[in-house]
């Protein structure tokens, strides 16, 4: 993408529908009751793509909301991550779950390697540092 989207492109579903597709490439106009009944459209087609989240991040930045954009970008990295893995990582990030820093660092490595989730991995490494300094790896009874 050379030209970033602006707030003029928002809402994308109205202004730039050609940019939007479900996870298997279905356009919004392809997703109807008829295609749903015929089985052509399934649950996977009703999910957001990392591309759409990147578009929304561009719009958020254009609207002066950089932190929201970063969340969308972290979200984009999680689009392809299965629910179980998301739940495991979430659980590890909760206080006292990981016994020490290395567990979080390992999980971050896995996210980066298997899912290309670089931003999230950085985010987890940062958490690991802070948890260690604040003694959050203590087991909670």
């Amino acid at each position: 993408m050379s030209d970033n989207l602006t707030i003029e492109d928002y809402p994308l579903s109205e202004k730039r529908p050609e940019l939007i597709a479900g996870q298997r490439g279905k356009k919004l106009s392809d997703i109807t009751l008829d295609t749903l009944v015929s089985g052509e459209v399934q649950m996977e087609d009703l999910r957001i793509t990392s591309q759409a989240l990147h578009y929304q991040a561009e719009i958020a930045r254009a609207a002066g909301r950089p932190t929201l954009a970063e969340n969308f970008e972290r979200g984009a990295e999680l689009v392809g991550v299965p629910e179980e893995v998301i739940m495991q990582v979430y659980e590890l990030l909760r206080p006292g779950r990981a016994a020490d820093k290395s567990v979080l660092i390992e999980a971050a490595k896995l996210l980066r390697r298997d899912y290309g989730a670089a931003k999230l991995a950085d985010f987890m490494e940062e958490a690991a540092e802070v948890y260690e300094r604040r003694g959050l790896f203590t087991y909670r009874f």
Binding site: I7, Y10, P11, L12, S13, E14, A21, G22, L28, I31, T32, L33, L36, V37, V41, M43, L46, R47, I48, T49, S50, A52, L53, Y55, Q56, I59, A60, A63, G64, R65, T67, L68, A69, E70, N71, F72, R74, G75, A76, E77, L78, V79, V81, E83, I86, M87, V89, Y90, L93, R94, P95, L120, F123, M124, E126, V130, Y131, R134, L136, R140
Partner: protein, 705 residues
């Protein structure tokens, strides 16, 4: 350094705020601005919202709190109105019931949607009923119109799963706390919550956090920081996490905060902090802070006039006892009052009055739709009786429907079989609920483009509006959100409106009965009598013609009957005269007195206001007056007749006093009285001569003149 803490000593909250929230490029400049100056800018309509947002992002939590604490309640309200992110106000409602009955959830969801709630939120009495609640509300919310966002508040992992299955479209129970210890006792950290926020985004589900005064207090670790400062920390965290919005203003902590002096003002200040930081704000007005109706009304008013992204983060759309979150500030019991408040102040609280027959139609449609889904997906076969009981019920006390245990079995089946929104949409369609299938699909489709993930997004008329395409650009009178003419008409259309047609219709109901009791025979023009025994009762133009009972509910025949009897009982002659040149009580009485040989007359309006007058007195200086017709009883009219007779005989009787117990007569009756009086005045004619009226009381022996 952040609020007196060196970087080396940062706790995890300080660190997260410094690292992810504060705009270091401008922080030095903004922190150097005097708090009083920033406070003034917040209420200065010439300083744009965008400038103030930039300032906020350069301030530490303590400084943010310090600025806002300089504002009084009115200034906070004004600043809130100026700073809130989206232009168009909205509202959120709770849809729950004491039995977790899915049929009632569907009916109540459809009802809430009809009233215009932009978001509805459910929760359970029994936590394992989450899936049943989710399916029921999702189906109910698809009845009538599309676009209401729905949340199923449950355990965090489960809530996310319900969202992934396509039933819910937003989440807001991701709690954030202002101290490290409280955060940890909440079993999370800023990083784990931020991860959850990213997870919701990755599934195309709208999300906001929850925070609010009192939570750290209730959870025991407040580090002696002020409530406002703790909340500022929470809000800075939320923005740092990249969450689009918050639910704050004391949520579960609101009742404890309201017990503290200035607590309610503090809650408002919290909401201001949120919008100043450019977060969507579901502005509390959630947990009921008091049993006092006055304090409830006072609490909501600033938000109603200021407007808010979501005025309540849970208006109880159901009756109090059905609210599984515990009673809200406003509940089903107060819904009509809220609609009237919107009308009184011409303020948009996000809701629209709906007629009863329409609500019944929608409720029926909702339970039929859910029953169809249950049958198609083999989740149950609700009986006709169950459906009927729910459609007509105002709450779960009146239903014969599913029990919490039934709901658990349904919930378990939905979960075990991995039923998603796709199966539900197909089931609706198979059973002919095409519109509902379409509506439900439209809400699920929102997540593909993710437009509703942006700040303050809701769906109106099938379109996503948010702080991006509907920003609040308030810059003084005439700018910002204004109630449009069509919207004003919607807001005005409350139930039980009284108009002249309605008054005449209700009078007509009494007309037939009066015709069986009394006959008025119009005679010759009335002249001054020479007989000293003659007492005139002057009746008004519409008396017995278009109006047939007093506002106290007494038939005019009875009022006239007891008066004439009381006069006759003293050996005097009651004479009835109709005046058409005036409808005013005093002039009716004075004109009657002038025609009477005794010089004493009674003026009697159809609404029941009565006066005793004497021929030589000034019009408004009468002998006795019954001005409070609604509380004037038949016995009082009889005594008035007796006193008129006594004056005619030269006695000085004890004036009749109608006891008044402080009823707000004006508010109860003035609208009706104004319309009744208009009916009277419409029959007046400037030069109309007074007319003798022969009165015949039917069914009893009486004089006829």
């Amino acid at each position: 350094m952040l609020d007196g803490v060196h970087e080396a000593d940062f706790d995890m909250i300080d660190y997260f705020i410094a690292r992810h929230h504060i705009d270091v490029a401008v922080a030095a400049e903004m922190m150097a601005m005097p708090s009083a100056m920033i406070a003034r800018q917040l209420v200065d309509m010439h300083v744009p919202r965008t400038d103030l947002v930039k300032i906020a992002h350069g301030l530490t939590p303590a400084k943010l709190a310090e600025v806002v604490s300089q504002l009084n309640a009115l200034e906070i309200t004004f600043a809130y109105s100026k700073m809130r992110a989206r232009n168009t106000p909205g509202n959120q409602g709770h849809v729950t019931n004491a039995k977790d009955d899915p049929l009632q959830l569907a009916a109540d969801a459809a009802t809430a949607v009809a009233f215009g709630f932009d978001e509805i939120e459910t929760t359970m009495r029994v936590s394992r009923n989450a899936w049943s609640n989710a399916v029921a509300c999702a189906v109910g919310a698809a009845v009538g119109r599309s676009g209401t966002l729905f949340q199923c508040s449950s355990e965090e992992a489960e809530e996310l799963k319900i969202g992934m299955a396509g039933f819910s479209s937003y989440a807001e129970t991701v709690s954030v706390y202002g101290t490290e210890r409280t955060f940890i006792d909440g079993d999370d950290t800023p990083w784990s919550k931020a991860f959850l926020a990213a997870a919701y985004a990755s599934r195309g589900i709208k999300m906001r956090c929850t925070s609010g005064a009192g939570s750290e207090l209730l959870m025991g670790f407040h580090e002696s920081k002020s409530l406002l400062c703790l909340e500022a920390r929470c809000l800075c965290l939320q923005r740092g996490m990249g969450v689009q919005g918050t639910q704050n203003g004391g949520i579960d902590g609101a009742p404890v905060t309201a017990t503290v002096p200035g607590g309610v003002k503090e809650l408002m200040a919290e909401n201001l902090l949120a919008v100043w930081l450019d977060l969507e704000c579901a502005s509390g007005n959630d947990a009921r802070t008091t049993e006092s109706e006055i304090r409830v009304g006072a609490k909501i008013l600033p938000y109603l006039v200021a407007g808010s992204d979501l005025i309540c983060s849970g208006f109880g759309t159901i009756l109090k006892y059905d609210n599984s979150f515990n009673p809200s500030l406003l509940n089903g019991e107060e819904l009509e009052d809220f609609l009237v408040l919107q009308r009184d102040f011409e303020a948009d609280g996000g809701l629209t009055p709906v007629r009863e027959h329409r609500i019944l139609e929608l409720r029926r449609r909702a339970v039929d739709a859910l029953a169809a889904v249950f049958e198609e997906l083999q989740l149950g076969i609700p009986s006709k009786q169950m459906l009927e009981s729910v459609v007509a019920a105002s709450g779960s006390d009146e239903t014969e429907s599913y029990s919490p245990r039934d709901a658990s079995l349904i919930s378990q089946a939905i979960q075990d079989r991995g039923i998603t929104v796709v199966e539900v949409i197909k089931a609706l369609l198979r059973r002919g609920f095409r519109e509902e299938a379409e509506n439900l699909l439209a809400v699920v489709k929102l997540r593909i483009a993710g437009d509703y993930l942006q700040t303050s997004a809701i769906v109106r008329d099938g379109r996503v509006i948010s702080a991006v395409n509907d920003p609040n650009c308030y810059a003084g009178p005439g700018s910002g959100y204004r109630v449009s003419e069509p919207r004003r008409l919607e807001i005005n259309a409350i139930r039980d409106e009284l108009d002249q047609k309605e008054v005449l219709r209700s009078e007509a109901l009494h007309e037939a009965a009066e015709q069986r009791r009394i006959l008025y025979h119009a005679g010759a023009d009335a002249v001054v009598s020479a007989e000293t025994t003659d007492v005139v009762i002057g009746i008004s133009p519409a008396f017995g013609v278009k109006l047939f009972q007093t506002v106290g509910g007494h038939p005019l025949s009875q009022v006239l009957g007891v008066m004439t009897d009381a006069i006759a009982a003293r050996g005097l002659k009651p004479r009835v005269v109709r005046f058409k040149h005036t409808a005013d009580t005093s002039f009716l009485g004075l004109s009657a007195a002038r025609l009477a040989g005794s010089g004493i007359g009674i003026g009697l309006q159809a609404k029941g206001t009565a006066v005793i007058h004497q021929r030589d007195r000034l019009p408004h200086n009468n002998l006795e007056l019954f001005s409070n017709a609604p509380i004037t009883q038949v016995e009082h009219y009889r005594q008035l007749g007796a006193n008129a007779a006594a004056y005619a005989l030269g006695e000085m009787p004890e004036p009749v006093v109608v006891p008044m117990r402080g009823q707000a007569m004006g508010s109860r009756y003035h609208a009706r009285v104004a319309m009744i009086y208009a009916i009277e005045t419409a029959l007046t004619a400037k030069d109309a001569r007074p007319q003798e009226i022969g009165v015949k009381f039917l069914g009893r022996m009486h004089l006829e003149r």
